[in-house]
């Protein structure tokens, strides 16, 4: 701007000189908004290009990619920790982990580990809350041996006793640390507040449940749930010299053919029934920074408002430095390193909205007040055009990054299949940009009104209670008043039983 003004006042001669210099000036525009770009529209791949149904039952996504001499196979298993019976919490975790770590019918655990290590193959397995996974990554030249090992792991695991004991000891040791880190405490209590004590994600492994699990339990669990009818599989990479995609598919078919026992189809993931109770909840722990989560019930990703909710959250606190909570709590006030919000569209049931930050205990109440103000603002007024456009771009123009490698691509599609979205909306990603583009400012405000009931928030604060309730005199915010005056003390839990500890016992 300044240069232009000066130019207008200069003599003709100087102007001529300036014009002679113009090519350089043209090269570097004064502002990035002046840049022009070659046109480019990204077209994501289609699941159909990779999808096939194996004769032995499972759906498979198979992609050839010979850039590196590696191949990766991911077997997803319907089921999860919700399949662990009451009193045997930890069974799914152990049965999942020990598939790869406990040996097979023909190989002791030690022999299996040594062979995998010699082949530089990585074989891992486990059950998470709502799915199991067995993954193998190895050199293309070893594919056939790797598939033979994988077949044995899936159909004839040994669950060696000493490896069960080792894993138990490791988990017991981990258990001892349950009250050490405020991040762990916060995560746990958040779960209890959101979904209630009885919900399966809150049924923690205890010392007693862990010690009750036997090798027979593992075998029975495995035979019941690890079955081709629960499998979806994704393969990407180099299939080996001269091996075509069709031949690779035949190999995969053999992997799941003639299953030696008959299992069951996994039941659906249980749906929570608990209603989050508003209020302020405090866990007292003597550290010099508090961790705060502001929570509300949200929605499932099948909800018609889901796309609008994503955009709304991006403006509010999900978009990092382009979002309002980050700008105010972090950039303006310097109150936290990480501050923002998230809406995870629940795959199986409505998940939660959560805004969170970590700040020195005496400014936690003030930062919470700012978060609540921003939630109110996005509800009470429309977002700006620029905010809307920035949020949309952050979804639309980054889509290609989900498909950066063939391995990522087949795993994205595996997820689509596994969660049932492919069956309902096979072109979900093809239509992704158009759907996000359709979201209007009115949609954003409507969904904010629906979801952000600031008078109903449950606020969890973990930190030194005396300091949390003794605000910095510069910002004398009374923490409990932010949630209608209600404060509930949450005691730490006994790490071995997960029962709340009596305050005196601390």
């Amino acid at each position: 701007m300044k240069t232009m003004k000066n130019l207008a006042r200069t003599s003709a001669l100087a102007l001529l000189g300036a014009l002679l210099l113009a090519p350089a000036a043209q090269g570097v525009p004064p502002h990035p908004d002046k840049l022009t770009y070659p046109k480019f529209t990204y077209q994501p791949p289609s699941a159909k290009e990779y999808r096939t149904v194996l004769k032995s039952g499972p759906v498979a996504f198979v992609a050839e990619d010979r850039e590196l001499p590696l191949v990766s196979i991911n077997v997803a298993l319907r089921g999860g920790t919700y399949l662990s019976p009451a009193g045997k919490e930890g069974l799914a975790d152990l049965a999942g982990y020990l598939l790869a770590r406990g040996g097979t019918a023909t190989k002791t655990a030690e022999e299996l580990e040594e062979r995998l290590a010699f082949l530089a193959a990585s074989l891992n397995s486990g059950y998470g809350p709502d799915r199991g996974n067995v993954s193998l990554n190895l050199l293309a030249k070893d594919l056939d041996e790797g598939l033979a090992i994988l077949r044995e792991v899936l159909t004839a695991p040994r669950f060696q006793d000493d490896k069960l004991k080792l894993r138990r000891d490791q988990l017991l040791n981990d258990m001892k640390s349950r009250n050490d880190d405020t991040a762990d405490i916060e995560q746990r209590e958040r779960g209890f507040l959101a979904f209630g004590e009885g919900y399966y994600t809150n049924r923690y492994t205890t010392k007693a449940s862990l010690e009750s699990i036997t090798r027979e339990d593992l075998l029975a669990f495995h035979r019941r749930w690890v079955d081709p009818r629960n499998v979806t599989v994704a393969v990407a990479g180099d299939f080996g010299k001269g091996v075509s995609r069709a031949q690779m598919i035949a190999k995969l078919d053999a992997l799941f053919a003639k299953w030696p026992y008959k299992g069951e189809a996994a039941p659906p993931v249980p749906t929570p029934t608990h209603a989050m109770a508003p209020g302020l909840y405090v866990v007292d722990k003597d550290v010099n920074q508090g961790r705060v989560s502001v929570m509300l019930p949200a929605l499932a990703r099948t909800d018609p408002d889901y796309d609008a909710a994503l955009v709304m959250n991006d403006v509010l606190g999900g978009g990092g430095f382009t979002s309002r909570i980050t700008n105010r709590v972090r950039s303006d006030e310097g109150l936290a390193y990480s501050a923002g919000s998230g809406i995870v569209g629940g795959v199986w049931y409505p998940a939660t909205f959560r805004a969170s930050f970590q700040s020195k205990a005496r400014t936690c109440a003030y930062a919470t007040q700012i978060v609540l103000e921003e939630m109110t603002k996005v509800r009470d007024a429309e977002v700006t055009d620029e905010e809307l456009q920035t949020a949309k771009s952050s979804f639309i123009d980054t889509l290609s990054r989900n498909f950066a490698t063939k391995a990522q691509t087949v795993n994205v599609f595996l997820d689509e299949e596994f969660t049932g979205r492919f069956a309902k909306d096979p072109d979900y990603y093809r239509n992704y940009a158009a759907r996000i583009e359709k979201v209007t400012k009115a949609d954003v405000q409507r969904v904010a009104r629906r979801l952000l009931a600031t008078d109903k928030v449950a606020v969890l604060a973990v930190g030194k209670k005396d300091d949390l309730l003794n605000p910095d005199p510069k910002h004398p915010v009374k923490f409990p008043e932010l949630t209608g005056g209600k404060l509930t003390d949450l005691p730490l839990r006994d790490p071995f039983t997960m029962k709340p500890l009596a305050p005196a016992a601390k």
Partner: protein, 591 residues
Amino acid sequence: MTIRRQILVAAAATALLLGGPAAAQEVKGEEHVLPNGMKLLLVHRPDEPSVSAGWVAKVGSANERVGMTGISHLFEHMMFKGTKTLGSKDPKRDLEIIEEQETLRGEMRAEESKMRAAWRRGEVDDLMKPENKTARYKELEAKFDALVKEQRDLLVKNEFDRIYTKNGASGMNAFTSYDMTAYFITVPKNKLELWFWMESDRLKDPVFREFYAERDVVYEERRLRVESTPTGKLDEAFDSIFWHSTPYTWPVIGYASDVANITKQQADDYFATYYAPNNLTAVLVGDFDKAEALKLATEYFGRIPRGKTPPPEVTTLPTKWEYDLRFEGEADTNPTAEIRWRTVPFQHKDSYALSILAELLNGRTGRLYKSMVLPADAVATQAYAVHNGFVGPAKYAGSFVIGAEAKEGQLPPEVAAKALAEIERLKKEPVPADELRKVKNNVAANSFRRLSSNFPILLQLMVNEAYGDWTEINSGPKKLEAVTAEDVARVAKTYLVKENQATALVSRKAGSAPSADDAALAEVPEQVRPMIKQALQQLAAEKDAAKLKEGLAQMETQAAQVPPQMKKGFELLVTKARERLAELEKAGDKK
């Protein structure tokens, strides 16, 4: 949630990355040097329609001094605060406000100096407490806050981020370590010119606005990563002792009071010295035209003048100590033992054998796991080994680290002794060929795995370049492949010796959490609890089955005479002694 501008801390043994890809898979980088000294490295990979782009400044906490530790990292934060063009609606007034703020800060510093003197005399306790600020300080602070408010009304908040985001860029971040500061992002392939515009603008005309709020952010980051974590402060203390007499002795994030006192003037000077183009390398990996990229680099980065003076070299060489350092501490954590040795820096000819040596010890089929975790008489539940961890301190000195988490009932010194026995074995017995092959196979395969997409390649190139040579990504794997069994024994004997050694023994802070026995112990009357607890520890450490059997028999004969207040404790001891004996006998059977 996005977490940006982070420091990578070296301690994570899991973040092990040895070097680069195996010989067969070369990264074909094209190197150019602009007339102003800035280096450009181009790697064409058309897989995905995007470019992962970054630049690395060859400066990190090793270039700092006490009094301004943490400035490299704070400075990294400041690089996102905008430029003369971006970030303010009224750049002229914005700069004036910054001047006025600095004047006030000068007066505030004078007050801070008085407060520090009062602290030294013991008149105030904690300088961070708001109640301890002087009246004059509060008055100045109110004036300062008013200026911040005025400035805020003129800001285009985080415009630097906004422009990138609305143009479809993602993953903008940066990190600071001991030896480097790196900035990176991924842009759609048609937006490469935007990257050149933005990065050259912030290198040419940065404005370090909102400096003091950002300093507070960094202080919160320190609380988050160090002060409020179970072992953060202990790790920091051990690092400091281990690295004494080297520029790695202070933490990357800086000492607390240094972070709270770094001045904007210091940041300005730092920028002029270390962010001159002659100290930077830009790296592009992805789908772009190389000639076009070179043209844009010349046009955009070429505008930045070379630094007036070259950055000063780090001349501190590690002193050799001649003793076995010991560090003991307590924290809310499971007991652990870690042993470290000072070794050699990046690309030292012995660094490859040390890396192979670490891999022989590390992992589920590594020697530490086999000797410490798997046996029936295991002492640990986890074990690890690493030489010069990825992004760890490595430019001016090196470290070899082994460690383990103690199993229930085991004490850190025993765990350390067991780990050291494995080191001694490596010095005496040559490594079998199969075992060496296994380790090398994994080193090679993992180097392929790190080449699967643009960003990991960019990261490795920037890191290697900052240590001194990006081509390590291609040459390192060959040197690792060439390591022999003799090399391994030789470097173990040369470097893993007492004169180079520091041991950290960490126990659980008393009463910080129940141990597995504490539930049972809780039922024992309080006055005898410590005694029983000690006996239980001795019991768990007992290795001689015959001796234990004898003791148990003796206890059983005494059962009738036990006084009532001892009864619970006595029963617990007998139960535990039986369990321990069964364990020992089982272990004996297997041998």
